[in-house]
Symmetry: C2
Subunit: 430 residues, 2 copies
């Protein structure tokens, strides 16, 4: 079961009591759908009322892809990219594409010809399926990449078989991609109208790629449902998820305007990227918000560790603890060669990793960095579902406490407008 | 040639003039070796006075490894990890391990049994060489991983052949790894005494893995030498590198305490990690420093982009522009299918990427984010050498301007002390 604690944060329960009413109001606004952005709160009840039929279709489709493909190309950006990638690496590790099963690669999340070209060269001669994810179908990055992917598929398989190997996750009824999919005969899955991109990982957007990668998606949804039940009490003193939301705001009030999500597993890298989008895009508006950053420990203890220990004191840290590893490695003895670390002989690496975690928290707390802890038993489907829901709900409540609409992203349009103007201009400057 | 400009930063030349004397003093302290940490400034003149003989030996060794290995495992952490990885991905792209040539993987930079176990399973049956990088040989993470690597090599090849396939980059004379290497017959390369970890990428630490990955290391050093010459004028008005250093401090004085390094190529991810270590570890001390963060655009325009555009206004942005891509991809026409992006038909992706860059800078500047620009012609060896030297020197000068020793990292010891105490304790709590 996911647990949150704040023992090493310097925050007292009394300070939380002061948030009793505002949290309760935020809870009511979220569940009563009366708050800002309430048209995008479909994710709140998703774990209990998701479309079972579509979910079954996702599973069946994943089985087909696992049977007829070596590679799945997932074409999407932002929320149509990070959730699936976060989940796959979280569950299957950094080297998931080196293991048995379908390799999953991501395109359409950047505009680099080197990236796309190198990847297409690599997969060209393999058996490929494509999953294109876009609510509208007109987002530039995935639309451009999908033109390449479609061309590759049609030249490789012909139009008919290509259409059987292309899956569109898009609006249920309208939009360019839905139209193209229907005209071409691609199977489609829905991006619900009431769930924004960064909250969409528990819809087909995340679940189809996850299922193809071999994840048990029913378990993910069950984990999310467990979290939905566990974090449903409007009383901040009884709700760890709301405690996290309130404490973030308390710390921000003290000038801690950078939050660092710290994991001790490299397979959490894209989970951290997902988390950064969730919080950064939800709260970073109206010249407000906590800047979300992430580190991979112990790697980054030999990098940003110095700054965290002793740099500008405007940071706090949220540590992800994983109870047990997915595999164990016993450190071989090396005593007679004298690397000076005899105390490692015969120890489990996961034990050493956990001592590094504890030592780090002690050191950073002593250095003046408030420490929060989110704890899950394992890197498994159930825990992933819990984590996703915990952070989604905490983010919504935190945004309401901050006084912003946590479900819009008006700033994302700014670069698009400028880019479109430049792309359409007669005299671009290179 | 590398160029730096600050047109979109809101900083005027007059403000730089005010830094004339302090920059000049910092320059003298650095070149005269009279400043704090002067015992670690060997990197300043490295591009002109590196050890040619050792460099030749690196090239020859790389040829041997390229002839007899499918995989090189590089075992190191911090500066013994990030520079090599940054360089290889910068030059060879995200999918370098999918291309012809030796695959290069990194171990010893974390304590995850899942990471190490999965990777060793993948490489076990391939032809392997190992490069272990540690000044002392007693840093816990690489020492622990090297025990596994050595066991694997000796059981696979026997002690004699294993010794021929293991290379140690370590202290020239002393330390646990040097002793072990000499006793076992590993070839060794030197980590110079006067160059700290995060400044070591142009020594064997970075150059051997880079050469194995197929990089032309002479060109890297030549690029660094070009930068050393171009950025040698003590007058801040004539030295772009010092302008960057001064402007960072001017912006910090205005409350911009987060710097975001923004690239438009996913292959810059680990270059950004290297940069984060360089600046974070050099300046993040005495409760001072700019927090270094990074983004990958356009990916993260659909994530942290919202925050950058409109969140708390304590950030500035340093954009890396790459003049031309390593390959070109022409976007296929899709007009009749109506993704609404007809203006993309037949355009080079790199052109669209550059318009995204220009649009982003315009949007962020309009949003109140000072923008700095570092520009290189291409992702090639020469540019990599220039970039490394530019940032190393800027970091040293910037640290001196800030009033810290940019060459120590006392805070890194804190977690180690706590971790060691926990590891040696009789009753660890799990």
């Amino acid at each position: 079961m996911l647990k949150f604690s704040y023992e090493n944060s310097g925050i007292t329960q009394n300070e939380l009591v002061a948030y009793f009413e505002s949290v309760s109001n935020a809870h009511k606004a979220l569940h009563g759908k009366t708050g800002a952005g309430n048209e995008f709160t479909g994710w709140v009840d998703l774990p209990s009322n998701y479309d079972r039929e579509e979910c079954e279709r996702i599973r069946q489709t994943a089985e087909i892809i696992r049977g007829n493909s070596d590679v799945l190309l997932v074409c999407g950006i932002g929320g149509s990219y990070l959730g699936a990638r976060a989940g796959i690496e979280f569950l299957k590790g950094n080297f998931h594409n080196h293991k048995q099963g379908v390799q999953v690669y991501f395109i359409g999340n950047n505009l680099s010809p080197d990236y796309l070209g190198d990847l297409l060269d690599y997969v060209r001669d393999k058996r490929i399926s494509v999953c294109v994810v876009s609510k509208s179908g007109t987002t530039l990055e995935p639309a451009a990449a999908f033109r390449f992917a479609r061309e590759l598929m049609e030249s490789k398989y012909g139009k008919t078989e290509a259409a059987e190997r292309i899956y569109a996750i898009t609006d249920r009824e309208k939009g360019a991609l839905k139209k193209l999919a229907d005209a071409s005969g691609y199977a489609t899955f829905a991006v619900p109208d009431d769930i924004g991109g960064r909250y969409s990982v528990l819809t087909a957007v995340g679940l189809l790629p996850l299922a193809v990668a071999g994840a048990d998606i029913a378990q993910i949804l069950e984990g999310a449902q467990t979290a939905a039940e566990n974090f449903s009490d409007e009383n901040v003193l009884n709700n760890m998820c709301y405690q996290y939301a309130a404490i973030r705001n308390i710390l921000l009030g003290r000038g801690k305007n950078i939050e660092i999500l710290a994991g001790f597993e490299p397979s959490l890298r894209f989970f951290a990227e997902w988390w950064k989008q969730l919080f950064g895009e939800s709260e970073g508006k109206n010249h407000k918000g906590i800047f979300p950053a992430s580190v991979e420990f112990s790697t980054d203890l030999h990098s940003l560790g110095q700054y965290i220990q002793d740099g500008t004191r405007n940071i706090f840290e949220t540590v992800l603890k994983i109870g047990s590893p997915n595999r164990e490695m016993v450190i071989p003895s090396n005593s007679k060669d004298g690397d000076g670390l005899d105390f490692l002989d015969g120890k489990n690496m996961s034990f050493v990793n956990e001592m590094a975690r504890q030592g780090t928290v002690q050191a950073h707390e002593a250095g003046g960095v408030p420490n929060l802890l989110v704890e899950i038993p394992k890197r498994d489907e159930n825990s992933f579902g819990q984590l996703v829901y915990f952070f989604e709900k905490a983010c919504a409540i935190s945004g309401y406490l901050l006084g912003v609409n946590p479900f819009d992203q008006p700033g994302v349009e700014e670069y698009k407008k400028k880019m479109y103007a430049l792309l359409k201009s007669k005299n671009p400057v290179l």
